[in-house]
Amino acid sequence: MKELLGVINLDHELDKLNELTYFRCGAAVPFASRYRLIDFVLSNMMRAELESVGLFVRRKYRSLMDHLGDGKSWDMNRKHGGLFILPPDWNDPTDTSLGDLQHYHNNLDFFKRASAKYIVFSGSQHINTVDLQDVFQYHLEKGADVTLVYKAIDQLQPEHDPCLRLELNDNNLVTEIHQEKHHPNVYLDIFIMEKKVFLEQVEYCIAHGESFFFRDVIQKNRANFKLAGYEYKGYHAVINSLESYYKNSLELLKQENYRDLFQENPVQTKIKYEAPTRYLDSANVSNSLVANGCIIGGTVENSVIFRGVQVREGARIINSVIMQKCIIEENAVIENVIMDKDVHLSKERILVGDSKRPFVIAKSSKI
């Protein structure tokens, strides 16, 4: 869809996943056995057939770049457009911009060169399968200046606390954007607006010493803009803390969640050429997600196992998330643990966390 330009802005996202985000940004955190959080928003953008997608990163983006490559996995290695990773690059000595406006100011060419008339903005913390074409059509039908995507949450969870809420009138126009904990309409960090208006507002805000586009333009100016709210009803999870990461990982073991997230449309990710997973004669696996390349000889219960993990005979993994290429040796026991990539757990070691506060093992540890 040439009318719509994609922007993924990671600038305002805090890396609050403790050990998991010590050396990578939140968007690069592995999730759901074989993906990283960024894959979900990129797959949504791919499905909407956006010609160009710009990705604003500021810190700890090495592993993200490694994952994204030339964008081929999301069909974004294109002659025209494609995926643009835009790290900080401040060269203009007269530049007075702040916050994410700095990004936008320093990459005006990216916006100007794109043929698209509209822009869809998204973060990476809200996992969803929203149909961006549908949001765009809704935006046009509503004749809105900005369309914001939200989901009415039945049972609010602690991870929703930091999320913004949308207050809507009968006409589905947004009347308030606030952070009141008990309001159900959680904003998904996705909005669409016209490029021309966006660029005007960027210029105006910088001139007036503002720093964050969403807060300073959309939230503060809600009276001057026609803001439409688009209600999304599909699968949704917010990953903004270790607890939410752990809980939502294990929630995928519920079949309706698994189906809602994966069944309709495949989520794209960087391809690894792993053999299919091999279960040995001694394997005992139940209620688990397992990626390829694993060799499993032990017990795995209620867990999420990433690619290339080895679980040796007699080992037990319960209520845990085990990332890529970990090796769990004979008779080791793991319960309520998040194990980052490349951890080697020796024989007969026992690691037990709390079901509310999982024990996190940092990347490449040898225990």
Binding site: S33, P276, A283, G297, V300
Partner: protein, 387 residues
């Protein structure tokens, strides 16, 4: 084109009649194997891992799937500026058109393709074997002996030997005789259908053979004996490792079963010799609370509620509650209902198995591997019965 030391020519036009329904509309090299692969992934990955970056793939029978599968070759890292993978179907020429008449004829008709790269050597491969092999090591062997032709061989049992092309060699493995499927084999060195030729020597013989009306234009039957007659130096290269011809339903099933032991003879998890394949990009497999999985290979995108024992599941297979699958190969996107029992069968892709179906249980001939084909109308009456 840049000069290449060695160009590989992969013969992938075979129909594979003995694979029955599996090759009804699919060339044999495109047949599925090992939970995620197609047979052709093995020679292609071997080329890629051996550092051979120029591969011609000769297709003929039902080439659509094969052509689209290979694509530009990026999955095998064979999308290269100089060289890469080339699909070479038979084509019409000034003096008429015909199908490839034999393995040698296929190369003969693509002389110009090979000539572009002006190679010293050419590697001839077939697309119907499962094995991991470093062709570069074979090339070094070939060069060290200054051989005109080197044939990779594997030691087979004497009983099996008459199924293969058998090489008779002297002590230093110099070949003096080649018997194609001999009734009374004189040795147990079987040709694997992997040859390295000096290109100028092969070229000369292909030109000679191409004009011969009496020839069957086959490497084993014609070119190799002709070269021996002409006094060329031919050597056998002994290959040690897993190698399997998967030309029949039974051998295909057996090769799949070979992957299931706790220490399989063919290691697909070796990071230094990966077998590349086109990734279907499916979500991680889901093993339900009531499921049981053991001694099996399961690919991504599978949802398992039942029991899978000593079997291979390709991607996107669903196994309903109460179903039990043993000693079977389930190809991509097969949907298996509830309380189904499947034993010693190959289920071809996209087949739907209804609830309570029994396949291969209480069969008369235990050794026979049932092939359940989504196109086979006889499926229910012949292979299955409802409880």
């Amino acid at each position: 084109m840049k000069k290449k030391e060695m160009v590989a020519m992969l013969l992938a036009g075979g129909q594979g009649k003995r694979l029955k329904g599996l090759t009804k509309s699919l060339a044999k090299p495109a047949v599925y194997f090992g939970g995620t692969y197609r047979i052709i992934d093995f020679p292609l990955s071997n080329c890629s891992n051996s550092g051979i970056d120029t591969v011609g793939v000769l297709t003929q029978y039902e080439p659509l799937v094969l052509h689209s599968y290979i694509g530009v070759g990026s999955d095998w890292d064979l999308n290269r500026k100089d060289g890469g993978v080339f699909v070479l179907p038979p084509h019409e020429r000034e003096n008429g058109s015909s199908w490839y008449r034999g393995t040698a004829d296929a190369i003969y008709r693509n002389l110009k393709f090979v000539d572009q790269f002006d190679p010293e050597h050419v590697l001839i491969l077939s697309g119907d074997h499962i094995y991991k092999m470093d062709y570069n090591a074979m090339l070094q062997y070939h060069k060290a002996r200054n051989a005109d032709c080197t044939i990779s061989v594997i030691d087979v049992s004497l009983e099996e030997a008459s199924r293969f092309g058998i090489l008779n060699t002297d002590e230093d493995l110099k070949i003096y005789e080649f018997d194609e499927k001999p009734a009374k084999p004189k040795s147990t060195l079987a040709s694997m259908g992997v040859y390295i030729f000096k290109w100028d020597v092969l070229r000369k013989h292909l030109l000679e053979d191409g004009e011969k009306a009496s020839s069957s234009h086959d490497f084993g039957k014609d070119i190799i004996p002709l070269m021996l007659e002409d006094g060329n130096s031919l050597y056998a290269y002994p290959f040690v490792g897993y190698w399997r011809d998967v030309g029949t339903v039974t051998s295909l099933w057996e090769a799949n079963m070979d992957l299931l032991s706790d220490h399989p003879p063919l290691n697909l998890n070796d990071p230094n010799w990966r077998i590349f394949t086109r990734n279907p990009n499916q979500a991680a497999q889901y093993v339900a609370p009531e499921a049981k999985v053991s001694s099996c290979i399961i690919n991504e995108g599978c949802i398992v509620h039942g029991e899978v024992k000593h079997s291979v599941l390709f991607y996107g297979v669903e196994v309903g509650e109460g179903s039990v699958i043993t000693d079977s190969v389930i190809m991509p996107k097969v949907k298996i209902g509830k309380n189904v029992r499947i034993h010693k069968a190959i289920i071809s892709e996209n087949t739907v198995i209804e609830d309570y179906m029994e396949i291969g249980i209480e069969r008369e001939n235990e050794d026979e591997i049932l092939l359940i084909d989504n196109r086979s109308k006889k499926r229910k009456s012949v292979a299955a019965k409802t409880i």
